[in-house]
C-alpha cells in the first residue's frame, strides 16, 4: 500500500498525499479509510483533511505538531488503511425531474449519443455513483462515472448562473448544483433536495465516499418535494 504513495509539501502547513495515479471508484474506500485513520492519529493537530479523486490534502496545525510528525502519522495511517479498506459511506437516493425545461442539454446529449431523451435518462439513472470529492462550492459532489455514451465535455463557455438543484454532466462526471452558481456542466434535470444546510447535522447531504442513485420523478412530484420549476435560462452567454 505504501509503495507508490507520494507525499508532497504544499507551503508550510500542508502535505498532499498522492495515494493513486488513476481515478478509480475502487480507490474511494482506501482514501476514506486513510482519512479516518489519519484523523485518529493526529486528532486536533488536523485543521482540514481534503480528500479528492486520488489524493488527500492534509492541513495541519503547525503550532501543535511539526511536519516530521505528520509524515510519520501519514505512513502509519497508510499501512492501516490498506489493511482495513472496506466498503464505506452512506447510500442516498436523489429524486430528479429530467425535462428539457430545466435540462437544456438533455436533447443535446441525446442527439450526440443517437439516443432518445428517455434513453439518456435511463442511462443516467441506471448507475450508482460514488462521490469522489466535494469541492467548488459547499455540498457540490463530484461523482462518477457516467456511461461513456452520455459523457459530454463541459460547455465551451460557462454559464453565469446555473439554477440550484441542476443535475449536470461534465466528461464522465456527474453532479448536482447545491445552489445557484456559475458553471459549465451540461444540465439535464433538476433535483429538489437541499444538499447544503448549515442547520443540518454534518451540513451536507453527502460526503466523499458516499454512493448516490438518481430516481426520475415527474413534474408534480418535483413540485411536491418543494422543487422550483423556473425554466432554465437556456441562452448561453456566448
Amino acid at each position: 500500500m505504501t509503495v507508490n504513495v507520494e507525499i508532497e509539501r504544499v507551503g508550510l502547513d500542508c502535505l498532499l498525499v498522492r495515494l493513486f495515479d488513476q481515478i478509480d471508484t475502487r480507490h474511494v474506500d482506501v482514501i476514506m479509510a486513510f482519512c479516518e485513520q489519519l484523523r485518529d492519529e493526529l486528532a486536533d493537530a488536523v485543521i482540514d483533511l481534503t480528500p479528492s479523486y486520488t489524493t488527500v490534502l492534509v492541513h495541519f496545525n503547525d503550532a501543535r505538531t511539526d511536519e516530521a510528525h505528520v509524515r510519520e502519522a501519514i505512513k502509519r495511517a497508510l499501512e492501516a488503511a490498506g489493511q482495513r479498506a472496506e466498503a464505506s459511506g452512506q447510500v442516498h437516493e436523489l429524486p430528479v425531474w429530467f425535462d428539457p425545461r430545466v435540462g437544456p442539454e438533455l436533447e443535446v446529449i441525446a442527439d450526440k449519443a443517437k439516443l432518445s431523451v428517455d434513453e439518456v435518462i435511463e442511462r443516467h439513472v441506471s448507475r450508482e455513483y460514488r462521490v469522489f470529492a466535494l469541492g467548488f462550492a459547499p455540498g457540490f459532489g463530484f461523482m462518477g462515472a457516467v456511461d461513456e455514451a452520455i459523457a459530454m465535455p463541459r460547455l465551451s463557455t460557462p454559464r453565469k448562473r446555473v439554477a440550484a438543484g441542476s443535475v449536470g454532466i461534465a466528461g464522465i462526471q456527474t453532479a448536482v448544483y447545491p445552489s445557484a452558481l456559475p458553471g459549465g456542466w451540461n444540465i439535464i434535470g433538476r433535483c429538489p433536495t437541499r444538499l447544503f444546510d448549515i442547520k443540518r447535522e454534518g451540513y451536507t447531504l453527502y460526503r466523499a465516499g458516499d454512493t448516490v442513485r438518481f430516481k426520475p420523478i415527474d413534474h408534480a412530484t418535483f413540485l411536491n418535494h418543494g422543487g422550483d420549476d423556473t425554466p432554465f435560462e437556456g441562452a448561453r452567454h456566448d
Binding site: E8, V10, S52, T55, F136, S179, I198
Partner: protein, 315 residues
Amino acid sequence: MTDSASCSITRLDGGCRVQDLGRFGVRHLGLGQGGGFDHLSLRVANALLGNAHTAPVLEITLGQVALTFSASTTVALTGADLGARLDHVPVSPGGCFVVEGGQTLMFDTPVQGLRSYLAVAGGFEVAPELGSVTALAREPLGGLHGEGDELTVGDALTYAPGFPSLRTQPDATRWSFDEALVLDVVVGLQAATFSGRSLFDAFNRPWCVDTRADSMGVRLEGPRLESRCASLVSEGLTPGVIQVPPDGAPIILGPDCQSIGGYPKFGAVTPYSLARLGQCCPGDTLHLRPVGIGLARARWAQWLGHLDGVESHGV
C-alpha cells in the same frame, strides 16, 4: 450593559467585507477558507485593541467607502493607506484612535497598499457560521446577515463601545511599501513538471499583478510558464498555492480559492508573503524567490513572534 452602538455603511463604491481569519475544518465539504487576505494586518488591528484574534473586523478594499458611527469608541486601523479621513481630518493606518458618535470615517483611494483593516474595541458583533463570519461569493453563509450576502449601503454593524489605551503598531509588523516586492515561495514537487526555462523565468523575471486580481486569486502577467501536465486530476488546494492554467499565466490562490482544483502548481507562497500579496494593486510589480523550508519557517516564526508581542501587550 451598554446600549448597542452601530457603525453604518453610508457609502460603498469600493469593497467592504466583514472578515476574520477564515473558516476551518469544513474544506472537505466543499467550503473555501476565506478570511481577510492580509491576515497579518487583520490580526494586528485586533491585537492593538486587545480583542480576541478571531474578532470580526471590516476589510476595506480600494477605498470609496464611508462608515458612520453612532457612539464613541476606540478603533484600530491597519494595512493599506486608503487616504482615510475622520470627518475630513486625515488618519493614518498603524494605530488606534477614538471615533466620536456621529463621526464618519471615509476611505478615499489607495495611497499605499490595497486593503485596510478596521477593528473596533471588542470587535463587531457578527455571529459566526461554521466558525467564521467570512462570506465567499459561492457560498450561502457568513456575512452580516448569515446568508453570504455582500454588505450594502444602509447595513449597520453593532459594537459595544470600549476605550482601551491608544496603541501604535510596532514597525516590525508594518509592510514596507518602498522596497521592491519579493514574495517567498516554497517550491513543491510538481515544479519538476515545468520546463527549466519556465522555472528560470518564474524566479528571475518580474511579474505584474493582473487587473483581474481578487480574493480568489491573483493572476500574474509575465513570461508564459509551461508544464508538461496541462491539467491534473483535481486535488486539494490551499491559499498561497501558485497554479498555472494552460494559458501559462500563474495564479497565486487567495483566501477565497476553491477547495480543490486541477492545474499544475510549482509551489506556494509563505503565509507572510500571501498576506503581503493582499496589499498588491493591479499593475504592481513583484518578484518570486524560492526559499528553503527552514528559512521560510524561521521567517514565519519571526512574524508570529512580532504578533505575539502585540497580542500579549498588557490590556
